[in-house]
């Protein structure tokens, strides 16, 4: 009896004193100066050395700056000064020098030191960090060996600091500043990581950045709140607060947008595209991504280049994009519109007569028809529509039976690595706006080349293109690479480039819309 009474009082007291008021739906923020958006997923981590996904980087990009940042002007992508004010490459682009910005403060008032850039790179490359994006720095001398544990001493890696000048030595020529726009290469504070621990330093309350915003709140799976950072070295953000709900389902996001709970919808449900396109708050613009089919060049009958060419000529890309009605641009070349080396004339065009002819040359006709060909894709409504369209086109134009098979995403990736079907579908979103990022995919060494097609000539052209001093010379090498990949090798069929679709409330001004899908929100203003 007494024990029970005691227990009761104990619990009641505990409850009373640990009561905490729940936040309101708007988390106490004034809607007139708060931009409300939705994140499509919980960011796996805000530790930029360890993150590898777009949600995390869209948050980190507002909390931090890199040495170099993208600037988008008149549909052109330029490199702008971030934490580096100036940079220049050696004649062959094998050595790069960066002048690190002075008088920058972290949000806790500590000065930003150039050595923190190197700390970040060392941590990124450290095998113990196990960072998925460590390869962003593999161009640096010794970096790959340090990451695989062959070198233990970081001073052997090709980075050197002289006052505020950072010098980077590369293995081969490359346009290195692009790598520094990526979140994984941002500077870190070793003292904070030591203070709060590897796993806790990026939680709200512990987090210290130097970007336009600071992390005010991060309730896992619920919400992320950003507040303007008064110590930011650049121009102050125009909207003081960002309220980002974490909403996985796009249909739910659309409902919330329609109900006025959020101001921007960053992606729309594709089945409702036709309807949504009629709205005045709908916007669409091209992004640097491509959708393509790959051939397994190691198995019958797609090991025959003539068969591959026949199939490539049998597909009318405009039919596919028209069916999708999403504004996608058909693309026969390997490089999407908006970057160097984009060539609308490149690659194999739709030509059913030629296609039939090529198939005959390969030794297949009515008496000896081509056996059914397997085409695989990862389970997804949109892919299904595209693949069924392609399937019927090949049947009609070439008389070839295509058997489609779909698998869940990870199963699909596992199969691609083990034994791809004769044709498979894939896509690529640019890491940086340079043709190298696309051409590198299909080199012999690339982990993303599932085709089994290897061409030393192609590999050489891709390397030569990077070290070429002028754009004209680069273009010459890329033209050669494009010919080898798409016309001689025909290991891939490019289909179309990607499009972003958004709904933006009229009160939101200059919301970021750029081909790299970056979401830096400091220039957004609100008119309410």
């Amino acid at each position: 009896m007494i024990l029970n009474k005691f227990l009761q009082y104990f619990v009641i007291c505990l409850t009373l004193f640990s009561c905490q008021k729940k936040p309101s739906g708007e988390y106490g923020l004034d809607p007139s100066d708060t931009l409300r958006i939705a994140f499509g997923a919980e960011p796996p981590t805000l530790d930029w050395n360890k993150s590898s996904d777009t949600t995390s980087s869209s948050v980190i990009d507002n909390l931090m700056d890199g040495l170099v940042v993208f600037e988008y002007l008149d549909n052109k992508i330029n490199l702008g000064a971030g934490l580096a004010t100036n940079w220049e490459g050696s004649q062959k682009n094998t050595v790069w020098k960066f002048q690190i910005r002075k008088n920058v403060q972290w949000e806790d008032g500590q000065p930003f030191e150039p050595s923190q850039v190197i700390d970040g790179w060392q941590r990124l490359l450290d095998p113990k960090t196990a960072s998925p994006y460590a390869y962003f720095l593999f161009g640096i001398q010794g970096a790959e060996d340090y990451n695989s544990g062959k070198i233990k001493d970081f001073s052997k890696v090709g980075v050197k600091l002289k006052g505020h000048e950072l010098q980077v030595k590369l293995n081969n020529s490359m346009y290195f500043p692009y790598a520094l726009t990526h979140t994984s290469t941002y500077p870190v504070r070793k003292d904070l990581i030591a203070k709060y621990g590897e796993d806790k330093w990026m939680q709200a309350g512990n987090f210290v950045g130097l970007g336009a915003y600071s992390l005010k709140r991060w309730d896992h799976d619920k919400v992320i709140i950003l507040k303007a950072n008064p110590k930011y070295y650049g121009t102050a953000p125009k909207t003081p607060n960002i309220l980002g709900y974490i909403i996985t389902d796009v249909n739910t996001q659309l409902n919330m947008f329609n109900a006025g709970q959020i101001d921007v919808l960053d992606s729309v449900p594709s089945v409702q595209l036709r309807e949504l396109k009629k709205r005045s708050d709908f916007v669409e613009y091209g992004i640097l991504s491509s959708y393509y089919f790959g051939f397994n060049t190691q198995i019958e009958p797609t090991n025959n280049p003539l068969v591959r060419r026949a199939i490539a000529h049998a597909i009318d890309r405009t039919k596919v994009t028209r069916m999708m009605a999403g504004g996608q641009k058909p693309m026969s070349g390997w490089i999407p519109e908006g970057i160097l080396a984009h060539d609308p004339e490149a690659g194999l065009k739709f030509d059913p007569v030629k296609a039939k002819d090529l198939l005959k040359q390969a030794g297949y006709d009515e008496s000896n028809p081509l056996p059914p060909i397997q085409l695989s894709f990862n389970t997804n409504q949109d892919h299904k529509r595209i693949i069924e369209n392609v399937q019927s086109q090949i049947k009609k134009n070439l008389g070839v039976e295509i058997q489609v098979q779909n698998n869940e995403w990870k199963v699909y990736l596992g199969n691609l690595k083990a034994k791809p079907t004769q044709i498979y579908r894939m896509g690529w979103v640019a890491d940086y706006p340079d043709p190298h990022n696309f051409y590198e995919l299909m080199t012999s060494k690339s982990e993303n080349n599932y085709t089994g097609w290897k061409s030393p000539k192609f590999d050489k052209a891709v390397v030569q293109a990077v070290s070429a001093p002028t754009d004209e010379q680069r273009l010459k090498y890329y033209k050669e690479a494009s010919k080898l990949l798409l016309e001689e090798g025909v290991s891939v069929i490019p289909m179309f480039s990607g499009v972003a679709h958004k709904l933006i409330h009229p009160s939101v001004i200059s919301y970021p819309m750029n081909p790299m899908s970056q979401r830096r929100l400091k220039n957004v203003s609100l008119q309410r």
Binding site: M1, N4, V11, I12, L14, T15, S18, C19, Q20, K21, K22, P23, S24, G25, P44, T45, D47, K50, S52, P127, K128, T129, A130, S131, P132, A134, Y135, F138, N147, S148, E198, D199, K200, D219, H220, D221, K222, Y245, I246, I247, T248, N251, T252, N255, M256, A259, Q261, W409, K410, V411, Y412, L413, G414, N415, K417, A418, M426, D431, E447, N448
Partner: protein, 357 residues
């Protein structure tokens, strides 16, 4: 007052307290969750002891541990047989980087070693670290996601009982009239309509058309209304049908005729004699129902963006997040097994004729 009468009151008090806090806009402190759990276990313990069910319970718990161990082993092995690993991504990683990651999570060890390491961890009460959410332990993820799921399930269950039992009783009392048909019409459509459709219709009408309730999120009681209705309507319909048929059964039994014959009012007969005796099937159903609501709420959680366990259940599988999948599977199996055990034990309370041994 005797202790076994005191504990249910305390439990009820604590639950009402927690619900009160939640509905009036306060965060339920985790100590209250623990207190409710502890009181419940204590009450159950006393109940088991007083009814000399100790041996039976121990046997069932022993069995449960064995089953849970089997589930854990099977899940562990099945996960390794499905193609595609946790670190296969659209942008394939260079082999040395993948090796570093696999080393970090012990995935480079032989399967048996991995299994032994995992069992060792679980025995120490550590469910491991999520592969996807860097640096977050599975225990933390479950701790954060369990309360919204529990609350959603609890409210839906309350709604189901509050709606289902009166509806069934009402229909049975007005047997074969238009009222009966109306109630059962509702019940049949409640069962037939899938909850994602109900949810979509509710959002369409109340959030987008009338604009009176929020379309998603789980913050204030206003946010609760639509998901709770969407989740609770199906079990309510089940309970209504179950109650109706059970009441109809009981109404025809001899002791009801006796009760009527001795001149009790129809209302008194119905509420006092018929209802209590016809609730046994409903009770039988409520164990699996509670477990079903908890594990079946993922669609609703997904649609209304409720930060519960459901979305993790789906995404952990598609991410091949082995530790999180294992943790959630364990949690759900424990919930299901113990919900059934508790219902079995409670039978003896509602129907003294049942003897467990």
């Amino acid at each position: 007052m005797k202790i076994e009468k005191y504990i249910p009151l305390l439990l009820l008090g604590l639950i009402v307290w927690a619900i009160g806090l939640d509905l009036f806009g306060y965060i339920i402190p985790s100590v209250l969750f623990y207190a409710i759990g502890l009181t419940f276990v204590c009450g159950l313990g006393v109940f088991i002891y007083k009814n000399s069910l100790l041996k039976y319970t121990m046997k069932r718990i022993g069995e449960a541990f064995f089953v849970i161990f089997l589930i854990m082993t099977a899940t562990f092995l099945l996960l390794r047989t499905i193609p595609g690993g946790p670190f296969d991504e659209e942008k394939a990683l260079p082999p040395e980087i993948k090796a570093n990651i696999e080393k970090k999570y012990n995935l480079d060890q032989p399967l048996l070693t991995q299994y032994a390491l995992y069992i060792g961890q679980v025995v120490r009460g550590d469910m491991g670290e999520s592969f996807k959410y860097v640096g977050r332990s599975v225990t933390d993820i479950i701790k954060e996601a369990l309360p919204p799921s529990l609350l959603l399930g609890f409210y839906a269950l309350i709604l189901a009982f509050l709606m289902g039992i009166p509806l069934g009783l009402f229909a049975a009392a007005r047997h074969n009239t238009w009222i009966d048909n109306l109630c059962m019409g509702f019940a049949v459509s409640g069962i037939a309509l899938p909850n994602f459709l109900v949810a979509t219709l509710l959002v369409l009408f109340f959030s987008l058309k009338l604009q009176v309730l929020p379309a998603a999120l789980w913050v204030t009681p206003w946010h609760y209304i639509l998901p709770v209705i969407a989740l609770g309507i199906r079990p309510a319909a089940f309970i209504a049908r179950l109650t109706r048929s059970s009441v109809l059964d009981v109404i025809q039994s001899d002791y009801i005729r006796t009760a009527k014959a001795k001149g009790l009012s129809a209302r008194k007969v119905l509420w006092k004699h018929v209802l209590k005796n016809s609730l046994l099937p409903v009770l039988t159903f409520s164990g699996p129902l509670a477990a079903g609501i908890m594990s079946g709420s993922f669609v609703i959680e997904f649609i209304f963006a409720i930060p519960g366990l459901g979305p993790h259940l789906i995404s952990s599988v598609s991410n091949r997040d082995y530790p999180l999948i294992l943790g959630l599977t364990l949690l759900y199996s424990i919930m299901l097994i113990f919900a059934n055990l508790i219902v079995d034990l409670l039978y003896t309370f509602f129907d003294p004729r049942i003897k467990l041994s």
